[in-house]
Amino acid sequence: MNMGLFAKMRKSASLAMTALFISSVFLSGCGNSQTSQSSGSSTDSKSTIKVGVLHSLSGTMAISEVSVKDAEMMAIDEINAKGGVLGKKLEVVTEDGASDPAVFAEKAKKLLQQDKVATVFGCWTSASRKAVLPVFESNNGLLWYPVQYEGMESSPNIFYTGAAPNQQIVPAVDWLLKNKGKKFFLIGSDYVFPRTANKIIKAELNAEGGQVVGEEYTPMGHTDYSTIINKIKEEKPDVVFNTLNGDSNVAFFKQLKDAGITSKDLITCSVSIAEEEVRGIGAENMTGQLVSWNYYQTTNTPENKTFVANYKARYGQDRVTDDPIEAAYDAVYLWAAAVEKAGSTDVDKVKEAAKGLEFKAPEGTVKIEGENQHLWKTVRIGEVQADGSIKEIWSTPDPVRPDPYLKTYDWAKGLSN
């Protein structure tokens, strides 16, 4: 009796499985034929303009990238509500990079070759940007990349709306040297951004009389920092410069506090922790610690007040805005302005029109530097408050010119060849 029931279950389950397979094959087949129909005609002749959004919506990076995607969707909807670009509504094609560089490359190809989008907003990690870069260059596409990164790059097909190293790391180190002390301990996750950032920091410290007393990298997903904290204790640095990524930050700050070290004993400065990350770490674990960015939710501009209010109204009062979210939002408006100015979505014309373009962003006025397609941005050092917000304690008086290869710094010679 029991066996019979089981056999029946097995049969129906396998039937269901086959049905699922066949139907989904058909479904995906239909999807393909739809996109291939529309791919033939050029975007200019239609009533909508297709734009691509390419972020990790699944996998480990979804933590950060989903809210960046949300900001881009909000900007696109705002623009559509005001009548679109060149009188045409924007039509979004969203793709999931699944936290895997190879998938990013595949989806970028799809957006450019199959969907023929006018531009793409997307990526977060350096690995995903490096993966799609050859795709954008060989197809003459346009990518807007919204995250601070390690520099040493300036692709003609990418606009970088996050900070270059000289708009985040370099001024932070400079400020720390002047205000907090000379002995630095560098800690980071083992990947490209921390290693390159630390190379820059070491060169800068070397030139300006600072000293590196320790440099440690931990594998992604590392969970125990007791040994590294012990090493930090032994070296007694003035500043810990932190380029850890994701979950590791939570473990690091919780365990640092347990070891009896708070911001009063030892100051840390982080460049990958924004408001969103502070919530996961717990504000109580990093009150008083420093971060360096170009924008905080508390940044005092009229544009930011509306931006924060709209973002919260749209996605929930418990959501926060932060630097990459704002940079992604700016990217959409900058592209739209460039298209309006060029009168066309043609990539070369848009690039030409974008040179020197200004936008009143939530972080203040930003300007596209024509030479390297990065933004002029104000640098802000902030302190984490007990309620999880970040208070600005210092900023540059004016926006800083982007310099991804650090050409204007003597000590940086040899870093970028």
């Binding site: 933590i63 083992d190 931990t218 032994e234 990350e277």
Partner: protein, 302 residues
Amino acid sequence: MDTYLLQIFNGISVSSIFMLAALGLAITFGLMKIINMAHGEFIMIGAYAAYVIQNIFSQYLPASIFDFYFFIAIPASFLAAGIFGWVLERLVICHLYGRALDSILATWGVSLILQQLARSIFGAPNVDVKSPDWLNGALLIHPGLQLPYKRLFIMLMVIICMTAIYYLMYRSNYGRKIRAVMQNRAMAASLGINTRKIDAYTFAFGSGLAGIAGCALTLLGSIGPTLGTNYIVDTFMVVVLGGVGSLWGTIAGGFLIGTGNTTLEFLTDATLGKVLIFTLVIIFLQWRPKGLFTINSRSLDE
């Protein structure tokens, strides 16, 4: 000197975390021979259970008793993970006894679903569990040598869990039944033991232990949907190194990997430390494929 003493303490502390995380596996893998790749996700369930209890305390109960939430969170984590384990056993695992390799694949599927479920319910970003005040701070031996209470507390939890398992397995009627079923299922069944029931409860118990580990880990690390993936390989290595089916083996395995890892990390760096410790374990297993503590058996095909 202090640095080295503290380093020894760190080694023991990391060992205790590995032991706690691997205890559940020692039951499900060691006794039941089920490779539960979703073990990490049971740790995650325990952590989220602690998060939920914390939220209930901070929202509905007076602030004065907030600090006691952890005493509720520990059993709640055990129950939450245990119930999930029971359901999993009834739905999936019960078809997989004797098919160890297949159990790897099916439970991996379960882990994917549980991770996505956590993402749908609690959102993709990490959540914050505030540790109770009485666990903040450190035991001051002298100024250079502070032992965090949280780490001491986790060691205490390992000892309590170990004792509980020992009594349950070797001193109770229930434990005798479990061991009987695991040693000879057919014989146990013919003597009137309800093997289906024993299987389900044992698996639930092992999963519940993972839940306790998750609750403890909220003190030290991040709480997010992928929390479990950080521990899965380490815990399996602990059980395999110690010897499958031996409680003492799990303790020894956890101790060796924990202290070995921290020592190598101290001498080299975190990346190399991890690579070296795993390489050493693999080499060791070439020499003793069944791990440190082996149970001698005359059967050939296990």
